[in-house]
Amino acid sequence: MPRWGMVIDLDKCVGCQACSTACKVENNVPHGSPDEQRLRREIYWNKVIAVTTGKYPRVNTELIPMPCMHCDHAPCVTVCPTKATYRREDGIIVQDFRRCIGCKYCIVACPYGARSFNSKEQEEKEYHRQDLPPDRSVWGQWPFPTRTHGVVEKCTFCFHRIDQGLKEGKKIGKEVVPACVEDCPTGARIFGDLDDTHSEISSLLASRDWIRLREELDTKSKVYYLLK
């Protein structure tokens, strides 16, 4: 069984937010008004944060793209009372909207702020946008045909693409990757199997210095960052 993981090369990331946009398009994540964004009500499955160190004029800004870390020891899975959040066998942490009762305990428990609460029903036309790619059938069935407010949402590593790709016998990590990896203009994101010693991410992790975020909590996250 593979164990899917992601490597983000901070040296290559330019902070263009293409991953955030690609994620919103692929998963039809509702977009919010500036007011909602300021109040932290907008749903983000992937975010890019800017972290500064030092004082002007000696400032260093680092741009950290943050999808869900898909931790092996996921605090959200531990606290979910209804098994709405669970770890698939391939290590992806998914959220089942049909089981979720909206208690928001997982948002409190997540140390990465990767989870968002869907707090309002979107307009029908916003959900079924005309500008979606017409050939989305190649990526498999979209996993969220109906969506309701009142549940918690999060990044899924685009598991619908992975499942479809495996069914068609495609190579995951090369031919089939999550939307954010596919759309990254600088190739800063690499997706693959952490347990496969021949995969690209395994060789990257063996040859470069890497960190994981909030290592002190020992969540064993599967998103690795290559340092500058």
Partner: protein
């Protein structure tokens, strides 16, 4: 044991006016709940950084009041302190109403309350590692135990009362420690994360439950023109003082531990940040310092008004304590990466008070008030005032 209990008349004009006012506010609260349920939680003050708002604050507050009230009923039924018998039935009844209000609060907080049956599918569809699921067992059991307990008290089966009383006290302590564990076990939130949280919650529960019980007793006895023995209130005041000091020690230990370790930024933020007024003003000021001064004062502690003011301050202050836990605990920004996180991702959360949420919260309280009035009218909760002197017989020990 020669004490008999009765219903209240409940036929005066004031009674009906009060009933109607409470019913109207309950209805408004219900409408506001339906608004938030149908249109989504964007009408509330919560957001993705402060996911828990007023309903959860009220819920843990009410669970505390309930557990405290039930534990105090055991003074009579388990430990045999006869002087408290006149108020013991009321204590059990209050506990049941309060836990019911707390359940309503949880339902209001859920995004999908129609699926809340999933919380009670223990060991089948539930993840029993979740403190929420464990607390589902505790709350459900507590509600049932409370009702059976009240039932055997009404039936006056003394053997069962003592047994149920012991079970109820044990369970009530578990319930509130479980509630504390919901917060105390979350490692990602430094203000929550503390092994002493369950015990702190238990102490806060006893303090607030006792204070509420004292207020309820004095108010109801005054309103129904019953005489009462003031010495019970004074001795309960002494107990309250002791419990407040226990609570202060617990809170002090918790905060000092967090301040002592190098990772003290979140606790410093709580004590000096934008929500520090809740902590210092409501929690420390109203719940600890003023009541301790009043209850330790030689004159005010022997004055019914002084004790009542202290109890009232405690009830308000413990609400502040819950607020100062839930809101700042989640509002403190998560340190994703060393350095200063710019923009909204590094900013502390803000919690606007919205009308819908406020009316929802008021609705929970008025619903409980409604149940209390109906209970007083239909159940034999209050002692009979036989000679028009004092209902609780003066205790011999004092």
């Amino acid at each position: 044991m020669g004490l008999t209990f009765s219903k209240i008349e409940g036929k005066s004009r004031d009674f009906y006016i009060l009933l109607i006012v409470l019913a109207v506010f309950t209805l408004i609260g219900f409408i506001c709940f339906m608004v938030s349920y149908i249109t989504g939680h964007h009408v509330l003050g919560t957001n993705n950084i402060i996911p828990w708002g007023m309903p959860i604050i009220i819920t843990i507050y009410l669970i505390g009041l309930s557990a405290g009230s039930l534990i105090l009923s055991s003074l009579t039924y388990v430990f045999g302190k006869e002087e408290y018998r006149p108020i013991a039935r009321l204590a059990v009844f209050l506990a049941i109403i309060l836990i019911f209000g707390a359940m309503i609060g949880i339902a209001m907080d859920l995004g999908r309350p129609e699926k809340s049956w999933r919380l009670f599918m223990f060991f089948v569809l539930n993840n029993m590692r979740s403190m929420f699921a464990v607390n589902g067992i505790l709350y459900g059991g507590y509600f049932l135990i409370g009702i059976v307990y009240l039932g055997v008290i009404f039936a006056e089966k003394y053997k069962f009362i003592r047994m149920m009383g012991m079970l109820a006290v044990f369970w009530a302590a578990l319930v509130h420690m479980g509630t504390g564990a919901i917060f105390g076990f979350i490692a990602a939130r430094p203000i929550f994360f503390s092994p002493i949280k369950p015990f702190e919650f238990l102490a806060a529960a006893m303090v607030s439950g006792l204070a509420l019980l004292m207020i309820a007793v004095v108010a109801i006895f005054k309103f129904t023109k019953r005489n009462f023995n003031k010495t019970i209130i004074f001795s309960l005041g002494k107990l309250l003082l002791t419990l407040i000091i226990v609570l202060v020690v617990m809170v002090l230990v918790d905060k000092l531990t967090h301040l002592y370790s190098p990772d003290r930024e979140p606790m410093v933020w709580l004590l000096t940040g934008p929500y520090s007024w809740v902590f210092w003003g409501l929690q420390v000021g109203l719940a600890y310092i003023l009541p301790i001064l009043l209850l330790a004062h030689p004159r005010y502690s022997k004055n019914i008004r002084g004790v009542m003011v202290a109890a009232f301050l405690v009830v308000i202050g413990i609400f502040g304590e819950r607020f100062a836990l839930v809101i700042p605990g989640t509002a403190y920004p998560l340190p994703f990466y060393p350095g200063k996180i710019e923009g909204i991702w590094g900013a502390a959360g803000s919690f606007p008070i919205t009308p819908v949420e406020s009316f929802m919260s008021i609705g929970i309280f008025t619903l409980m008030g409604l149940f209390l009035l109906l209970g007083l009218k239909n159940l034999e909760l209050l002692p009979v005032d036989e000679k028009g002197e004092q209902t609780p017989a003066p205790s011999e020990k004092k």
